[in-house]
Assembly symmetry: C2
Homo-oligomer: 238 residues x 2
């Protein structure tokens, strides 16, 4: 069933006019008519079944609250450099489906893609749209936050219960993610991924004190690694 994230909050058995942002989708993509049902998620993260009562303006009545918990019971923050081509789109879309809490797009020593702040701004608009649509499609109640950031060594990782460093050189020697998770009781996990060309020695040195994990024994592409990590962490907690 189609799902829309709306601004503000709604209440049971009352009627509300739909946010402008979704009118085009409801009218022209879904071709909705009176009595059609869909879901809305309000700004507090509550999901509701609603019924369309009028199309001009688009108005709906709130039928019932949906209580199923679909969010992961752990907050996973992905640190990824900007990847080439449409790879970043793929990572944001699929990681959102897999339950990511936040994306921090940092500048790796070997980052290939470099954007000025104006381009970062327009990219952010695109990525936020991808994340919102993926949240709607996968029936989540949260949309992951996305931001650009500087180099890894300038960042504070003490805010996380657990920091996993996904260094490709660890594929045959690193601990497995599930073994590391078993040893902690983490409610917040940061996972740090490298660019297409891998981490530099300096970056690897910076993360020596953190958990250096293997993402299986094969070498994963930069855009595949986050999907593996999210799947494995999600499956551990669910």
């Amino acid at each position: 069933m189609q799902r829309y994230f709306i601004e503000g909050t709604v209440s049971l058995n009352e009627s509300f006019v739909m946010d402008d942002a979704h009118i085009h989708h409801i009218k022209n993509v879904m071709r909705a008519k009176a009595d059609d049902e869909f879901n809305v998620v309000d700004s507090t993260g509550n999901a509701y079944l609603v019924r369309l009562t009028d199309i001009d303006p688009v108005t709906y009545e709130v039928i019932e609250k949906i209580n199923a918990e679909v969010e992961l019971p752990v907050n996973i923050t992905l640190y990824s450099p900007l990847l080439k081509g449409d790879k970043m789109d793929v990572v944001i879309q699929k990681s959102t489906e897999l339950g990511a809490h936040e994306f921090i797009l940092y500048k790796a020593d070997r980052s290939v893609v470099k954007l000025n702040s104006k381009k970062e701004e327009s990219r952010l608009v695109r990525y936020e749209k991808i994340a919102r649509e993926a949240s709607e499609q996968s029936r989540r109640t949260k949309i992951p936050a996305i931001s650009f950031a500087g180099a890894l060594k300038a960042m504070d990782f003490t805010q996380y219960d657990l920091v996993l460093f996904a260094y490709e050189d660890n594929n045959l020697t690193g601990r497995s993610i599930k073994d590391v998770l078993k040893a902690h009781n983490a409610a917040s996990v940061a996972v740090v991924f490298g660019p297409e060309g891998g981490f530099t020695e300096a970056e690897a040195e910076f993360f020596r004190p953190y958990e250096n994990v293997a993402l299986g024994r094969r070498i994963l592409r930069a855009e595949t690694a986050p999907l593996y990590a999210l799947s494995v962490i999600g499956s551990y907690y669910e």
Copy 2:
């Protein structure tokens, strides 16, 4: 390090002329010269470190055997319908990185993409190339087999120790993959995925006797579901 799958077998400390299929890549993509090192995997699945001794013809000496086991200790066969656009390419590439053993592209009741047998043949050439390159890139010693097949109900699933049916309606009620794996000691696992529009009631009925699993609590796209399942199964066994 670059890796090539070759026909036939090689022996330590001997010299071999490279298969024609890789000459272009070695000369024009890698721009290799004498003394450059790379890996070859022979037809028995053994991997070797080799050194280039001549470029015309491309000849290499076998230096040492690579004993690291990178293949999953379980054979995972993915049953997927043909997906739209480049989604099948994505599934084959990333599932190969994640260790898939075999792909069977069946005809779902709601399959959108339908090919005649001539088109299937040319698709197979493309998918086999994607799988071979992904095996090389992820440093595997096996290339997954790929084939087209008919409808699910005509197939024999008794050959697998365990059959997982990834029905999206199970996302809130199905058992988790890891719980199912714990209850079995499976050396071969088939995972059956649906098309973009989902399974029909008849297909779901056919798989009622098999393990109906949830792929987390969110609804995954058709091309994301296999990546989740492979990551979780791989992580359980590794």
